[in-house]
């Protein structure tokens, strides 16, 4: 059963003389447990589409049905609340709050949801253990490597038990080893816990791991392939 349904999504920017169609009629659906990559050249609209999917940008037209709600019609306040409870985010950079430790960054989401201190601490520790950072919980982002920071971001994204995690170019600033580590962790979480990951990426290493590759060009889906990951 699809957890996300995207129906004829369009995003038009009218600030310039000639309107720019960043997303121009996309229809897609995503199942639970997918490990999907959205690829395309720069300016193809993949980040814009991901942002619309995550409710941090509003489409000009179309519907996005998540958990039987059309999030495109939600108000700004409702969207924030929806994101907090249903969607996890991993960005390319500026993922973490620099003044909080790793565990505090993960707890932050849980505090926004109103969980008690003990529950927050327990869950945050568990998640950091899952991403192999159980011994770095009290380090601030500046004391962690890029790859470690992204792993903390993954732990934070999972803290609220979201329906799916959106990752926008999560490996863009990482070296190959860190990328491999990060992807392995995400793949493991996807395989063992059924967490849905949707990436926007240029990185071929991410594409190789994905079991579904959606190619976007000029705001439209040009191909949508379900493939077996090259993980041997």
């Amino acid at each position: 059963m699809a957890i996300i349904e995207v129906k004829d999504i369009r995003k038009v920017y009218t600030e310039t003389k000639v309107p720019v169609y960043a997303v121009n009629g996309i229809d897609l659906s995503f199942e639970k447990g997918e490990f999907a990559a959205i690829v395309g050249p720069s300016g193809s609209g993949k980040t814009t589409f991901l942002n619309i999917l995550g409710g941090i940008d509003v489409p000009s037209e179309g519907e996005i049905i998540i958990d039987r709600k059309n999030i495109a019609s939600l108000s700004s306040r409702q969207l924030i609340d929806f994101r907090l409870k249903n969607i996890g985010f991993v960005f390319q950079s500026y993922n973490l709050i620099p003044v909080l430790t790793a565990i505090e960054n993960v707890e932050f989401i849980l505090q926004l949801q109103g969980q008690s201190k003990n529950e927050r601490r327990k869950r945050a520790q568990q998640l950091l253990n899952e991403v192999d950072l159980g011994d770095r919980v009290n380090d601030r982002p500046a004391q962690l490597s890029g790859g470690q920071q992204q792993r903390v971001a993954v732990a934070r994204a999972l803290a609220s038990r979201p329906q799916f995690v959106l990752a926008d170019e999560p490996t863009a600033n990482l070296d190959s080893k860190s990328t491999e580590n990060l992807l392995n962790i995400m793949e493991k979480l996807n395989r063992e816990e059924g967490i849905t990951f949707i990436f926007s990426t240029h990185d071929s290493r991410v594409v190789r791991k994905a079991r579904r590759v959606i190619t976007i060009e000029d705001g439209c889906v040009v191909s949508d392939e379900r493939i077996a990951p090259n993980n041997i």
């Binding site: 940008d57 709050i97 989401i109």
Partner: protein, 404 residues
Amino acid sequence: MLLIIAWRNIWRNKLRSFVVIVSVSLGLVGGIFSMAMMYGMINQRVQNIIENEISHMQIHHPKFTENYEMQYVVPNAIELQQKLMSSSEVEAVCSRLRIPGMASSAQSGVGVMILGIQPDEERRVTRIHKSLVEGSYLEGRRNPIIIGEKLARKLKVRLRSKIVLTFQPREGELARGAFRIVGIYKTNNSVFDQGQIFVKRSDLVRISEYQDDKVNELALWLRQMDTAPILSKQFQKSRQDIQFLPWRKIQPDLAMVTDFMAEYFVIFMSIILGALGFAIVNTMLMVVMERIRELGMLMAIGMNRGRVFRMIILESVFLCLVGGIVGDGISFVLIEYFNHAGIDLGLFAEGFESWGYSSQVYPELESRFYFIIGFMVVGMGIGAAVYPAWKVLRYQPAKALRME
């Protein structure tokens, strides 16, 4: 956690925060210390005027203060004096004969206010005897007189010189008497020093050829200065034929100044904090615009705009509070020190004394003003952060994340 994030955020750029904190502190020190000096000067003026000139309360015939005519006496003054002394609120009472007159020397003549006193009573109510710079306090001799230093200079007389006092004891009559200067005093009020002279009341009565003693003024020294208004009303109920005047009614302008010190303090500090607030607006704008992507990320992951707003406000409040506490602390230390050591403004002594103010200033400030400053600083912090916070909240998360 908002509190923790806000507090830690202000230390991300230590230099910038340090500059803001120092600005706020120095601004506050300047404002608070200026106010403390003014407060100290005014309080000293009130103390001086009460101790040397008017005491806590005065009693007169209702018509006496119109023209200071000797005929308007306080009926049964001695009996009233004894009754007042029996009150637990009253520490001392003295009886006086006050009359305007003329003091003349061989070189000059000046209009003066002649105060005929009982020296032993008077020293319990006023501190003139402690203001003597030469001579003694109306002791011994026939027709002794104490005059102010400025009057002595004006009349070109000195200790042991003789001056002639002329006054009108009753309608159509003049009385005249020669007095020998036994003491010269100096207060912080050169106008008072020039205008006020002290003689024995018995000498005045004798020169006036009155049959019996005359008292047209009673001056009271209370145990607590603040009880003057209430006591005057209480005493007034028992005697409708005379006037009980607390010092605030004798010197209403000074009373008004002391009453409005708090309001004046708030206005003065508001001006200083308003100016500082603009600097903080600028700083907070830099702080939030530098972190626009981070704030966009926070909104993206589920931090609502209200929380983002509160976080920015808190950062500004914390910054201002630290500056406020440092400023309050430095001000407190400075005020405490100079309250004991004093600040000598002798260079401007003549100008100060012509207005009745001492040139040796002892700054002081009530504790409540430090708390008022605390609230005002918080208000400044909130006010300074509103525009920067509003500016950031206008961004959609997607747009904020795209910012460089």
